[in-house]
């Protein structure tokens, strides 16, 4: 019987259909202003099976689809092990939050940390900064950037960081250096979060930001080890939700 995992994130809704322990379908849509309707659309073309919801919108859909819920923490822990059973530390940098999880071999969460109220250093932060630099997300996260102007972003707050970026542009710093510095700040933030739960030999980076090559490279550098990035990093939560018992 297929199991369906639904990860209702702040930016995107991810759906995973798992059958016999394998991925059958993966789908993604923007959360928008009516996530419930988006979920209905996503589920319309799905086979029938038990649904487990995760993500900040999990309780929103709980009654409508009479489904179980699980926190993002447990879902990502389980999803990470699906991609690589040797993973013991998981970092998820998503749209508006980030979390670090230490997990044991059975997929049990041993400790976790989440970012505070604000979205500093998360996907949304990088998105706003890319826009301030008039770059596409792909241009912004280019691994080839170097910090030739030797600039530094010191603000954690998205609003203040944006004004810092604007004043750096005003001072003539090149865009690529600013982009590099912004990624460095975000990687710094993620690395401090993960060091609070403990950095295991095998660390997985999940969530949409794992698709950003510069962020991934800088975070790996800070943690002094290569990062495992699953094939579908932003689906780790949905896959994990489908697999949670």
């Amino acid at each position: 019987m297929p199991h369906i995992g639904l990860d209702i994130g702040s930016r995107n809704i991810k759906l995973a259909v798992m059958e016999a322990g394998k991925i059958a379908t993966l789908k993604k849509e923007e959360s928008g202003f009516d996530p419930l309707e988006r979920c209905r659309n996503l589920l319309a073309s799905c086979p029938v099976g038990p649904i487990t919801a995760t993500g900040y919108g999990r309780h929103l859909v709980e009654k409508t689809f009479s489904c179980g819920t699980v926190s993002e923490i447990s879902a990502f822990a389980r999803g990470a092990l699906f991609f690589d059973p040797s993973v013991r530390t998981v970092i998820d940098v998503g749209g508006q939050d980030s979390k670090a999880i230490r997990v044991d071999g059975a997929g049990r969460v041993m400790a976790f940390e989440m970012n505070d109220k604000c979205a500093a250093g998360t996907g949304k932060f990088l998105e706003i900064m890319a826009r301030a630099l008039e770059m596409t997300i792909d241009e912004f996260g280019d691994r080839g950037h170097r910090n030739e102007s030797r600039v530094r972003i010191s603000s954690l707050c998205t609003v203040f960081a944006e004004s810092e970026v604007i004043s750096l542009i005003g001072r003539g710093a090149d865009r690529r250096s600013i982009a590099y510095a912004l990624h460095e700040m975000a990687a710094e933030r993620a690395s401090s979060l993960v060091s609070r739960v403990g950095v295991a030999p095998t660390v997985m980076l999940a969530g949409g930001c794992a698709r950003n090559p510069l962020f991934t490279a800088l975070l790996a550098e800070k943690l002094a080890r290569p990062l495992v990035v699953g094939e579908f990093p932003e689906f780790a939560g949905a896959i994990g939700a489908a697999l949670v018992e």
Binding site: S71, E72, V109, M110, A111, F112, E113, M114
Partner: protein
């Protein structure tokens, strides 16, 4: 129009806004407390006390003051209640647990001041706290930098402050200082009330305060049962009410409730299904009506079984020895008793870790939630040490204020924490 409008007006309250506050409180109480299932019947008294929080209790104090008694406001469990009662005073905890008058408070205090300090300021400046208005003296204490500076400004506004200099360490010199501060408070109270604090009066006061502590200890011990016979929310409420209710009546009603809980424990009647994760909340005080964390925890399926907090174990853990030889010996014993309190304002403060471990074991706790008020340097700092000492024991660090803006994030963390606790038990 309420029956108390005239009284509130005479106390200088802002009537329209005060009515709004009571309405908000009533709705919050309805939503958080009265929706709980299977509450003990003995909670009826405490429900009544809350419904009259600014009414009947204030009227009692107003009447007592007319008859010559003095109201003594306090903010902290370090202020010896025995002395206040021995001077025939009324002991009133003034800590506030709701976000009120913040813009006014921020005219005196930096924005990054903890919610508790901002709230007692805000309540005063917005003219919404009748308790502050029925005090003749307000006793502050040097337990943190935020409070120290806030009390200076509070004295400019009220002119009622008396500050006790609490040492930073429990050294011999620190103890000497504290003993002198206890004596200085005694003198101050005598001067204010015109009542001489005699050994007889002290013995009587000690008995009243110890009886209250014994009742609170009894409640705490009953929560060790599985399933727990009373919700954490209800137990928290009782601990909050302990700071301003008439102590003799409070003790009597609490003991009656405990009799009922004894029966529940025998019959294994609980408020949550047996096996619900048992949580100890540890850290900053939760002044009334701050029910946020307990509410989030218990609506997520946890049973809160203890508060390692000033509004909790720090308030009742130690009794004052009732046997003493003369006034000086009594003051020695009072001073010593209060220095057993393990507030994070002391350095070092290793007793606190020992007490947390003890409570964890006695209450058969599955996970500890460390609660710190945002910007409370002392408890946020100590949370790291607590986490380290507890090693792999399930631990969640929460730093928050009185607003509900982070309720969603907190709920996610709490649910993840309870999932972790449940899975770890497997």
């Amino acid at each position: 129009m309420s029956n108390y409008d005239q009284m509130w007006k005479e106390l200088g309250l802002d009537l329209p806004n005060h009515e709004g506050l009571l309405k908000f409180l009533g709705e919050a109480y309805q939503g958080i407390y009265l929706t709980q299932k299977n509450r003990p019947a003995g909670m009826g008294y405490f429900d009544f006390v809350i419904s009259e929080v600014h009414g009947l209790r204030i009227k009692e104090i107003v009447d007592a003051r007319k008859a010559g008694k003095k109201g003594i406001g306090t903010f902290c469990v370090y202020v010896p209640e025995e002395l206040v009662l021995a001077a025939n005073g009324i002991y009133i905890g003034l800590c506030a647990g709701a976000e009120v008058g913040t813009p006014q408070a921020e005219q005196y205090l930096p924005r990054n001041t903890c919610a508790l300090i901002k709230a007692f300021f805000g309540f005063k400046l917005a003219n919404l706290c009748p308790y502050g208005e029925v005090t003749d003296l307000i006793v502050g204490e040097t337990t943190c930098d935020g409070k120290k500076k806030a009390y200076e400004a509070f004295n400019d506004i009220t002119g009622k402050m008396h500050i006790m200099d609490l040492p930073n360490t429990k050294s011999a010199e620190g103890r000497k200082l504290w003993r002198a501060e206890v004596a200085r408070l005694k003198d101050k109270l005598e001067e204010l009330t015109g009542v001489k604090i005699t050994p007889e009066k002290l013995a009587e006061a000690m008995k009243i305060v110890n009886d209250k502590r014994r009742a609170l200890q009894r409640l705490a011990a009953l929560r060790a049962a599985d399933p727990t016979p009373i919700s954490g929310l209800d137990a928290l409420l009782i601990n909050q009410i302990a700071f301003y209710d008439d102590p003799i009546r409070f003790t009597d009603m609490l003991n009656k409730l405990c009799d009922e809980l004894d029966g529940r424990v025998k019959e294994k009647v609980g408020v949550v299904p047996a096996g619900a994760p048992r949580v100890l909340v540890s850290g900053s005080p939760m002044a009334i009506p701050n029910w946020k964390l307990h509410h989030l925890l218990e609506t997520s399926g946890a049973a809160v079984v203890g508060e390692e907090s000033c509004v909790g174990a720090r308030n009742y853990r130690a009794l004052t020895p009732e046997k003493f030889a003369g006034l000086d010996d009594a003051l020695d014993k009072i001073a010593e008793r209060y220095l057993t309190i393990d507030c994070a304002c002391f350095t070092p403060n290793d007793e606190r870790i020992e007490n947390i471990v003890k409570m964890r074991d006695e209450l058969k706790v599955d996970g500890i939630v460390h609660y710190a008020l945002q910007f409370c340097t002392l408890y946020t700092s100590e949370s790291f040490k607590v986490a380290k000492e507890l090693k792999e024991f399930p631990f969640l660090r929460v730093e928050t204020d009185y607003t509900m803006e982070d309720a969603g994030q907190l709920k996610t963390r709490i649910e993840a924490f309870l999932e972790m606790v449940r899975n770890r038990r497997k």
